[in-house]
């Protein structure tokens, strides 16, 4: 079963426009959720995690347990935001932690 769903493979927005990258998860407990980003020719790196409730590079993400969503938002997209974005889920099991990544959304910000 797909634990993390990112419905958009590709997303294009104009510079200065708002952007929302969707993420839905499947888990009934209290998950740990993350957004990772991979810029061109760079390593995958953490963008933000819900437990920190922080805003990084103008991005925020709110955990909505009712909708089981963790969408990533930014009010004004910048060209340097163009990258691949992955939503990730972690939760503990008796056998150890489980980690799931979505299939990713490629964001292109058009100048």
């Amino acid at each position: 079963a797909q634990r993390v769903t990112q419905p958009e493979k590709l997303l294009s927005v104009f510079k200065g426009a708002p952007v929302e990258l969707k993420c839905n998860y499947s888990y009934s407990g209290s998950p740990e959720l993350f957004w990772y980003v991979q810029y061109s020719r760079q390593r995958l790196q953490l963008l933000l995690r819900h437990i920190s409730r922080e805003s990084i590079k103008g991005f925020t993400a709110d955990l909505n347990k009712g909708e089981t969503s963790f969408h990533l938002k930014k009010p004004f997209a910048q060209e340097e935001d163009s990258a691949m974005y992955y939503c990730a889920l972690s939760y503990p099991l008796n056998t150890g932690n489980q980690f799931y990544f979505g299939t990713g959304t490629s964001l292109t910000v058009i100048p």
């Binding site: 993350f34 390593r43 995958l44 995690r49 056998t95 150890g96 990544f101 979505g102 299939t103």
Partner: protein
């Protein structure tokens, strides 16, 4: 400071051969993770280590895949009798401990099975 390193960066092998991929985590990180990144498939979690032990090996795609970690540091992912569907980028990450800590990723090993 030194990040996560992986070797080799690229590996081309013939179908049926065994390959060994290496990951060197950030010093002091007790948790180490292996992922597979295939086109259109996102990141597939394979296995993680907390210290030298892997609590759950069920993410490994088949019994041709195995991983070990010794001394709480370097880890090797071994694929025996490689198949063409094993072609992918294999990513390693490490974190302070397993769980909700930030994972730091390596550059990956691109494996091509011909």
């Amino acid at each position: 400071g030194a990040g996560v390193s992986q070797s080799p960066s690229n590996k081309v092998t013939e179908k049926g051969k065994d390959v060994e991929l290496r990951c060197d985590p950030i010093s002091g990180h007790t948790a180490l993770y292996w992922y597979r990144q295939s086109l259109g498939q996102g990141l597939e979690f394979l296995i993680y280590f907390q210290g030298n032990s892997a609590p759950d090996k069920s993410g490994l795609p088949s019994d041709r895949f195995s991983a070990e970690r010794t001394g709480g540091s370097v880890s090797t992912l071994t694929i025996q009798r490689t198949q063409q569907e094993d072609s992918a980028v294999y990513l390693c990450a490490s974190s302070f401990v397993a769980g909700n800590y930030e994972q730091y990723f390596g550059p990956g090993t691109r494996l091509t099975v011909t």
